[in-house]
């Protein structure tokens, strides 16, 4: 009898342990992030008049952290771009427009003076002043911050607070991309006291932007609410934005269809799924990404430019566009058409025309008449995987037998950094300034030159482009560089795809563009 009672007691204790282990902790851990007043999303209970101005956005990934200076993940940027502002912004025609800076002047090649907007308030209620600009850039330049944008502003020598609303940057040397780089969120203006209180900005957010971080429940949702003190008085129209993490594509579509979310981002292949659905509109814009096939130039077979050119001739770019993007992409080089004046037209270049004969000739000239075995490492995205399979097939024609290695993101970045790949297919972003598009990837010291590519002429042009402030001259420099790089084929570039937002018709006044993809300031829900 005793034994029974004892063991029952033990069992109960064990079960309790399991339950309380989770239950007990929950109460203390779950509640601080979750607001009580948040109304449960319920599709059945749509009020008839005046829908709540809540934008529901079904996103594909969990934000990694919210520090605009150290995080570049799309899932994070998407959120903190609503929270933070930069000094200046760029419009669709790549003209600079005021943001936190009302106006600016450039007395000489090395000096930039910004006049700040007055009365702009951080979400904690304190006014944003020149000190904050100085602090933010000093934070970025401090190696301990490990800011991603450090190289963007490395040329800055001093930051001077002239008065509360005037700040002066002095550069060490002329740096043409400086203004463009200021439009990047890498240069977001953050308040000192919030950073110091929290040691970093990973879990907290306090900016000057149109929306305020209210709640972030990991792997679940992020909720932003309207900033009532936003410096553009009439903006934003929305009361809040709710981001729901929905990793699965079919779930996102289903949720959009039923109106549980208003906005999702999907590849071209999904367009046909919502065709004929009157509740959903598709908004497209030209991305400034491009699809590439990179080579490891340490390997003998890829050292020979003829092999690389042969591969360029072997590739049928239009076929890739048709199959992977349903035709919805533009043949492009590494400065895609979205870059406007900086972009060179690659489509008509000879190296872009499929020519198997020529390719085979080049292969045998290079000593590979029968081709060779190699591998293509591909990243996690569907379009890249698809392109990999097609490239594999196309390269067979010139005797190159490639095995595909699907890499998940960690492995991909690893292969990228350690140059452990042979060939690698992926999607790179060209940025907003040609300096990034060209020098970053193809100058000998470019921090994203993972190919082992080096051409002194290209390096010289890159150095020149950096300091050439005259835009016309600069354009010439970069076009020449593009020509040189194209001829060397350190990568094969294929296409710059369109990107798509699938939008419920309830969501009004939304228009994504290449350089301003998620501006929800004018958006309303009807």
């Amino acid at each position: 009898m005793n034994k029974r009672i004892l063991s029952i007691a033990l069992l109960i204790v064990l079960v309790m342990m399991v339950f309380t282990a989770c239950g007990g902790n929950n109460n203390s851990e779950q509640t601080p992030v979750s607001g009580q007043e948040q109304t449960a999303p319920d599709s059945q209970e749509k009020p008839k008049e005046a829908p709540p101005q809540v934008l529901k956005y079904g996103t594909d990934a969990e934000p990694v952290g919210l520090d605009p200076h150290t995080i570049s993940a799309v899932a994070s940027v998407r959120i903190f771009r609503q929270i933070y502002n930069t000094l200046i912004d760029v419009d669709d025609n790549m003209n600079f427009i005021p943001e936190l800076a009302e106006s600016w002047e450039q007395p000489d090649d090395l000096t930039y003076i910004f006049k700040l907007r007055q009365g702009v308030k951080f979400h904690n209620g304190r006014e944003m002043k020149a000190d904050d600009v100085k602090y933010s850039f000093e934070r970025i330049l401090n190696p301990e911050t490990a800011a991603l944008g450090k190289s963007y502003y490395d040329s800055v020598s001093t930051i001077e607070v002239v008065d509360d609303y005037t700040v002066k940057f002095v550069l060490k040397e002329p740096f043409a991309p400086f203004m463009t780089n200021l439009t990047s969120l890498y240069g977001a203006i953050v308040p000192k006291e919030v950073v110091e209180e929290n040691t970093n900005l990973m879990q907290v957010a306090c900016g000057t932007g149109p929306f305020i971080l209210k709640e972030w429940v990991p792997d679940n949702k992020v909720i932003l609410t309207k900033n009532p003190d936003y410096f553009v008085e009439t903006e934003p129209k929305l009361d809040s934005i709710e981001y729901y993490v929905m990793t699965d594509e079919s779930s996102r579509i289903a949720a959009l269809r039923t109106g549980n979310v208003h906005l999702i981002k999907l590849p071209a292949s999904s367009i046909s799924l919502v065709e004929g659905n009157d509740d959903i509109t598709i908004m497209d814009y030209q991305s400034n990404d491009y699809l590439f096939l990179g080579f490891n130039l340490d390997l003998d077979k890829f050292k020979d430019v003829r092999v690389r050119q042969a591969i360029s001739y072997a590739v049928n770019r239009q076929e890739i566009i048709d199959l992977v993007y349903d035709g919805e992409a533009t043949i492009a080089g590494f400065v895609p058409p979205a870059m406007g004046r900086w972009s060179m037209d690659f489509a008509n270049e000879d190296l872009y025309q499929q020519n198997i004969e020529k390719a085979k000739q080049l292969m045998s000239d290079a000593g590979y008449p029968d081709g060779f075995e190699t591998t293509i490492a591909v990243g996690l995205l569907d379009d890249i995987r698809g392109a990999g399979e097609i490239l594999q097939k196309q390269l067979e024609q010139i005797g190159i037998n490639a095995t595909i290695q699907n890499l998940e993101s960690g492995q991909y970045i690893d292969a990228w950094k350690n140059r452990t790949h042979e060939m690698m297919a992926g999607r790179n972003g060209a940025g907003t300034d040609p300096n990034r598009s060209v020098a970053f990837f193809y100058s000998t010291k470019g921090s994203a030159n993972v190919w082992g590519y080096s051409n002194p002429d290209v390096d010289a042009l890159c150095d020149k482009g950096k300091v050439t402030v005259n835009e016309d001259e600069r354009e010439k420099v970069y076009k020449e560089a593009q020509k040189l790089v194209l001829n060397d084929c350190p990568n094969i570039w294929m296409a710059s795809p369109m990107d798509y937002y699938f939008v419920r018709t309830e969501m009004k006044n939304y228009k994504p563009t290449t350089f301003n993809i998620e501006n929800f300031n004018q958006v309303t829900i009807e």
């Binding site: 594509e249 079919s250 292949s269 046909s272 076929e319 698809g386 097939k393 095995t403 890499l407 998940e408």
Partner: protein, 286 residues
């Protein structure tokens, strides 16, 4: 030689018995067809599996493409046939791995007991405690995704089950009188294991193997879903099914074909396993 003939006779006898039972017949025939498909895949498949008919992408099933084409304009039927080969290969090799290790560990643990047994079984407990899909995911992330590594991962994940099955059988067989008498006349352990114990644990072992095979095919499908299964252009049913999810509305045949084949194969193996159990171990027949 004589032994081989004996074994062959035994197998034929088992097959005969299997075919007597109508359900067993279905299982056997199903497995047989799949094996045939995978052996003769190159002969049966009408097209090259990587051939892309760019003009006919996502075509629904018709006379030219029996199961339609996929998003790259590849013939689904041919890919399914080749998929049989890949899926079966994954199943057989991964089960082979876990069966071999399971057999060795199980025999050693069950026969020698004591410390060796404790060590082996604790190690198996360790492996067993990992959620299998996460363990497989781990292993594939470490080794890199490829056909071989997928099979190794699934093989490792299944090892504890085999070890336990074998060990339990060994322990129960060991206590039987004929083993005691074999020991008493001074037979070496290795001989006892090979000649006396092994034949007696074949029944649960075989049944476990057929069931594990279907499990392996499913695990491969799950790994494919997470993007770490078989690498293209090799078509496995799992990877075809997980890729087809995006086209389920637009091109349902892309999902239906692999799904039907996966289900039929697993059904066949499970039925075969059940019937084999009945034939090999009449005690369990209900």
């Amino acid at each position: 030689m004589k032994n081989i003939i004996e074994i062959l006779k035994g197998i034929i006898n088992i097959i005969k018995q299997l075919l007597k039972d109508p359900i067993g017949r279905i299982g056997f025939i199903g497995v047989f067809i799949i094996v045939l498909l995978s052996i003769f895949a190159p002969k049966i498949a009408p097209y090259d599996i990587t051939e892309m008919f760019t003009k006919s992408k996502l075509v629904s099933p018709n006379g030219e493409f029996i199961f339609g084409t996929d998003n790259f304009g590849r013939d689904v039927f041919s890919r399914i046939i080749y998929g049989a080969k890949v899926s079966l290969q994954v199943g057989i090799i991964s089960v082979g791995i876990s069966a071999t290790f399971g057999y060795i560990f199980g025999i050693v643990a069950g026969y020698f007991e004591g410390v060796v047994d404790s060590i082996i079984m604790r190690f198996m407990d360790v492996l067993f405690a990992f959620p299998s899909i996460l363990l497989a995911l781990f292993i594939v992330s470490v080794l890199g995704p490829s056909l071989g590594n997928t099979m190794i991962a699934i093989g490792i994940v299944n090892t504890p089950v085999f070890t336990r099955t074998v060990r339990a059988s060994v322990i129960s067989v060991k206590s039987m009188e004929y083993i005691t008498s074999a020991k008493s006349i001074g037979l070496k352990p290795i001989n006892i294991i090979l000649k006396h114990i092994t034949p007696n644990i074949l029944a649960p072992f075989t049944v476990q193997a057929t069931l594990a095979l279907s499990g392996a095919i499913l695990t491969e499908a799950s790994l494919s879903f997470l993007g770490l299964g078989i690498q293209p252009p090799d078509p496995s049913w799992g990877s075809m099914l997980s890729e087809s999810r995006k086209y389920m509305e637009r091109a349902p045949w892309l999902a239906i074909a692999p799904a039907v084949f996966i289900i039929c194969t697993i059904l066949s193996f499970n039925i075969l396993g059940d019937s084999l159990r009945d034939v090999l171990d009449p005690k369990l027949k209900l």
